[in-house]
Amino acid sequence: MNILTETIKKTNVYFCLDCGKCTSICPVALRNPEYSPRKVINAAVHSTPEEFFKSELLWECLTCKTCKERCPSDVYFSGFIRDVRSAAMEKEKKPECSHSGTLQTLMRIMTKPALSQNRLGWVTPNLKTSKENDYLYFVGCSPYLDAYFEYLDIDTIHSSRSAIKLLNRIGIEPTLLENERCCGHDLLWTGDVENFKKLAELNIEEIKKSGCKKIVVSCPECYNTLKVDYPKYLGDFGIEVIHITKLLVENLENDKLKFRNFKQKIEVTFQDPCRLGRYSGIYEEPRKLLEAIGKLEIIEMPRSRKGSICCGTSAWANCNMVSKQIQTDRLKEAKSTDADLLVTACSKCQIHFKCAMNDENTPESAKIKNVDLISLLADRLK
């Protein structure tokens, strides 16, 4: 059995009924009439691996999992794409990486065991952390994103500091890893399983060395990767992974977590990140936390929660005109709610939206102030 047939069998894409529901919801298909998930499945079934792996179709998918929500046969198309990309990568077919592949290169550099990073320079004295604690805060790539995307005026470090501030408020002084590496999410979803596994092994080793019992994560991608993909590819490593919003919601009822009211009524709309919503099922927690801030009202976008639309690019690959159109559409949708703020829970959503808004061709109707959920919460702490 060839590698393509094997992947098709493994991911159940034979169950595709050719009904086209995926196409009607797929954000890429809505903007690129040449593309359709079922068309990709047809091409995979009817062509040879050599032909299929050469196809550009392979790299168009955002792996946002919207199609799975609609599919009557429960075809996990994003999983199929992830696996065929890894098979294609073995045949030396690679995606077009944005930013000249800098971010992927950084991830591969992090697979070097001798690497000794200086990644904790942002931890200010007012943030309480400890050398050994039951809780470990997995920071993610925020120091790197902050340095690389400075021109977008993105403050991802503020988000990490805010996460620690919030954890301190609920009585947790988390451990931070001096040599934490990228979780490997982007390498995994662009087919580089080999380097993903190297990163995962190094991270698991560091995490175990820290002696923690629970890992708190604020980045949705790191959360899904640590919670689902690490055990899937390397076996259970025996440490619970919690998303920070879940932990904070548990502390809302006691007096540990109280937020200052806004002086004037403010309306916000929330962008559900794919990895937090559809992948991890965390829809209510961010909303409960926002609602805990007085004089803040959430206005939902027409497409929210399970039907939320992706921010247009995934894993720093294949950012093109279609991505820009998806981003503009989504921003217009946010703006049409008349909300004052668009709250996102993922640094990448924020980066992609800011980048789209920076484009001189983006109309005013797609410009809305964009803030990070964790930063907003920490800034409103009493």
Partner: protein
Amino acid sequence: MKKESKFEPKIVTFICTRSSHAMQKRRELKFPDNVKVIRIICLGRINPSFIFKTFERGADGVLLIGCPIDECQYSFGSKLAEEHLFTTKKIGNLLGIDKARLKLVNISLTKDLKFKSKVNKFFRDVKKLGPSPLSNR
């Protein structure tokens, strides 16, 4: 004899066309064998990806040679290179790459910018640092 003195660092140099002419004309320097030279049209062509890819592939040092900002024939090229270098150094610091492993040196057709001594100092510094932690050696 100390072990470090035997170590020959792998050095990659990105040099712009105009600077390579300037080097030839001024007969400033002949690169030793351990230096791989990549000629690019203008130093403004580089971006952080070029430099990190070079380190990822095992370079111990990366040297950028370009024109001073006021002499760049693309007018914006040298400035762009400096901006990219700034971002690269910031990220390089996070990754623990010693800042002495990456250097930009200007060469001018008309002015003496102490090019030779700066480049030789860079070579000596990289040799003193030993193999890069990213070089798999």
